[in-house]
Amino acid sequence: MVEKVGAVLVVGGGIAGMQASLDLADSGYKVYLLDKSPNIGGAMAQLDKTFPTNDCAMCIMAPKLVETGRHRNIELLTGASLEAVQGSPGNFLVTIKKTARKVDETRCTGCGMCTHFCPVEVPDEYNMGLVTRKAIYVKYPQAVPAVVSIDLEHCIGCGICEGQCEAEAIVYDQEEQMMDIEVGSIVVAPGFNLFDLARKPQYGYGVYPNVLSSLELERMLSATGPHAGMVLRPSDGELPRNMAFIQCVGSRDKQTGNTYCSSVCCMFSIKEAIIAKEHTPGLEAHIFFMDMRAYGKEFDEYYSRAEEEHGVKFTRGNRISMVEEDPVTHNLFITYVDGAELKVEEFDIVVLSVGTEAPVDTDKLRQVLGIDLNTHSFCETSIFDPLSTTKPGIYVCGAFSSPKDIPDSVAQASGAAALASSHISTERNKLVEIREFPPEKDISGEDSKIGVFICHCGINIGGVVDVPAVVEYAKTLPNVTYAEDNLYTCSQDTQSKIVETIKEHDLNRVIVASCTPRTHAPLFMNTIRDAGLNPYLFEMANIREHCSWVHSKEPEKATQKAKDLVRMAVAKAALLEPIPPIKISIGKSALIIGGGITGMTAALGIADQGFDAYLVEKKDELGGITRRIHFALTGEDVQARMNELIDKVKSNERVHVYTGAKIKDIEGFVGSFITTLEHEGEEKQIRHGVVLVATGGAELKPDEYLYGKDPRVVTQLEYEDMLANGGLKEDTKSVAMIQCVGSRNEERPYCSRICCTETIKNALKTKEMMPDANVYVFHRDMRTYGFREDYYLEAAEKGVVFVRYYPENPPKLTVNDGKLDLIAKDPFLDEEIVVNPDVVMLAVATLPNADNEELSTFLKIPLSKDKFFLEAHVKLRPVDFATEGVFLCGLAHSPKFVEECLAQASAAVSRATTILAQDELELEATKSFVVDEKCDGCAYCVDPCPYDAITLIEYMRDGTVKKTVDVDETACKGCGVCQATCPKDGIFVRGFTLGQINAMIEAALEVA
């Protein structure tokens, strides 16, 4: 038997690699995170905004970057490559080469002084070569590790940096280093490569100055980009008046061999068009595309808003063949079709929506890891094992297995982490250091000594607010001992500086004036813990979201307001008291709601981690909607795989199955939930530490296209059933398939994501079974993203006829003389098409489970407006709820494919494991406390408490009975309804006492 190792190697430090590392590290495994680049962060670090919420990419990513960089269980191996892998699952020996950074990572403080003096200018890859960097450099301002490196290709060895470096961190004779590490499993997340635009010379990229790649535009849009967020024409530095986006450059393209769809570029262009319009007064943006693939959660709404609210122009059905240039003005011309017409339009800038490819080192990865690649050189996976490579013990996530967006990559990353740890779960906590903070300093009796750290956030704050003036002002405020400004207060180097400063000035309260506490407070609270302060001796002033960003045209007033906000924070901080941590024990089991393939996979995953899984299904049998799926596009036998899964679930001793069970109630909170079930005529109670919601979805029964009135009209699943069970008549000559029935309309504005591909699957199956039958597909956009596109092509090649329709002019189905008449209008040929199908298949919407609403009240978890569940964060927390200890996966989240459901199921297991792996969980300490001297036991607060956390008690004091109230801290959630009800100042919420709030009010009313 191999000796197992409780460590995992993660290859690639982009968002997927970071997420996998964090999950593993939080679950008790040692992680080696390898990145070939000198700093982690990957492609997401280059993004300005993310769709469909327009979140600032760096803002949401920075906390993860910092956490990864400072996590005790994660060892960063940057500038490193994988050289050899030996061994087997549970015990791999990995050889790694670390290039010479020529900088001592332990000494460099990331001050960046050297970069000012280095005389060598090199095109800056981070900014897509639009500006230069130096030969000694750090990749981007918030980079982790915050350490420079020397680019050996360009360094001239002048020695200036060495002379400038006060930390004596430059080591010219540093050599490349080989090292061996032992790990139990490997997660590969190397990301993707961008298509080389030189391979499409017809667009003039690199020749016509005003032709940009979408990544170049992205950098221009960024505040940290070449023109501080302004889009300027490269030819003359002028603001553009209009801009064209050409989609599918290097995607869906036989000529280059990249026949697949890159999955993200449609949404990417919509986002860029919106942001570019916001940044450029009067800009017109025009997107030319074949199909608009807005298939993700709330993507279609974003697409509509771009068109209706932002005025982005969309012209469908276009594969632009070339770009022409006027050599004098450098303006560009595009010829396109609009309906049946041919048009030419002139543009100031043309943006090429560049496709993605397998990473450059894909072949080396194949050799070293011994994994198989698919025909497009991406990592080979299958729909039932979407996160496994062909080599046992080696898992994959992110864009390496197929092009995908951030939330899908993050879900896969968590999922891969769960699989990677499942076969080394016996080794959990063996190789890690438990995160220890220095002992807490006793500050009782001390005067308040407040330190104030004010962030420029690049130019996000500093470009509007006069930050140095705010610093000077802060120094004059009572109790402030120290104040300084930082370029990025959240960066890793600033964290260590804050710790040093707290010690040096003996600070006992800290304020950060920067962005929103909702995302950044935890980071800073941990930082002050590292300096021995109780984390609640911290306060934030939000001078970005609530100041610089919303008063950007009034810099003086914004500066004044920033001072006021700092003054308010200082007033509150002076009154902050340490809050003792509350720890609760964790019940080592999970409740999984929903026994479809998602829920079953999750239950097995929980069991594999060594915990008990209670799987509850309301139907009498397991399997869910997958019972009705017979074929897979890629050929797998779906029913066989599902039955295998059911057998595994039933025979696993850690999985406890309750079919035909109804949930009556769920009480409690993370660590100790109690669920009441009605099962086999009895009520049962289950105790569990976490909940996984996998409630699945349903197929719409439409009330259009004669459905229910004519037996020849069927839904997609009914049609599949006919194909599988001989329900299709042998003399079937013609089948019509209508897309988007009940989706993308007013009632259900969302795209159901799977139906286009399911239609292709059914069309191919029909052609296979009845080669002579005609198959017509009436669609709005074919959304066969990723490698599914290859099957769309195959269908077209096999003679399936695709006809586009517009929602204002849908196909019409009538019965004439017993025959079905389907009439549609082809918008390109501008003529009517009439077919007489024997069968009409409706690609109907996927509906959320009808039980979602009830469950949402049991668990206090929110629903989206489409009545799917709403996750904690659409980009970076796709399977978490804001409520701790509750997770979601599968169709409960939104419509998705089997492989995506399974990835999310594993992801939910991984997220749950980060809790279940702990014996005790430290709770949010914001709770109510009673001031016994003031409380006279009037009990006004008892009833309004939404959690029944307050009880009236009596005790003997000085010989008399004293009435007072008592708070159950595990039930209290700190809402403060009690404190606002109390007429006697007898009960408060820690960190939000009336005194503290009053101090803020008074400070606000003082005029600086």
Partner: protein, 138 residues
């Protein structure tokens, strides 16, 4: 007297889960509103004691607004239902204190309503500008 227009000061209590997030979204979306607002974050709108509102108004705030989650969305089940009842009481108190009803407002603003946050703040500042400074202003 100087001609300068009077700049009111409005205290906005925002619950952490919806309205504060809505205010953040207004920022992320760069929706502009006048710099006269001072947001105070509370965990729930139900945490805001009526005395805090009256104190603020009688100490010289020109307006106070409480923002919480929409009814049904409160992170703490029904904190905002209680807020709504208290708001009625506050309105009665305003009269006793000789304050115009427009100086106090209650609004439900969700985490996705950055535009609403900006609009409500614009309206609130306009409204108290029209009233002139608080009679309690020193």
């Amino acid at each position: 007297m100087e001609e300068e227009e009077y700049e009111p000061l409005v205290i906005a209590f925002c619950c952490n889960w919806c309205s504060y997030a809505g205010a953040d979204l207004a920022g992320v979306s760069r929706f502009q509103y006048p710099p006269n607002i001072r947001v105070i974050r509370t965990m729930c709108s139900g945490m805001v004691h009526p005395n805090l509102v009256m104190d603020a108004l009688t100490k010289g705030a020109d307006g106070v607004i409480i923002c919480g989650c929409h009814i049904g969305d409160c992170h703490y089940l029904e904190g905002n239902v209680i807020t709504e009842k208290r708001a009625d009481a506050i309105e009665l108190m305003l009269e006793d204190f000789g304050l115009e009803p427009e100086r106090f407002r209650l609004e439900w603003i969700s985490a996705s309503e950055g535009d609403k946050f900006a609009r409500v703040m614009n309206e609130m500042v306009e409204a108290v500008k029209a009233l002139g400074p608080s009679p309690y202003k020193m």
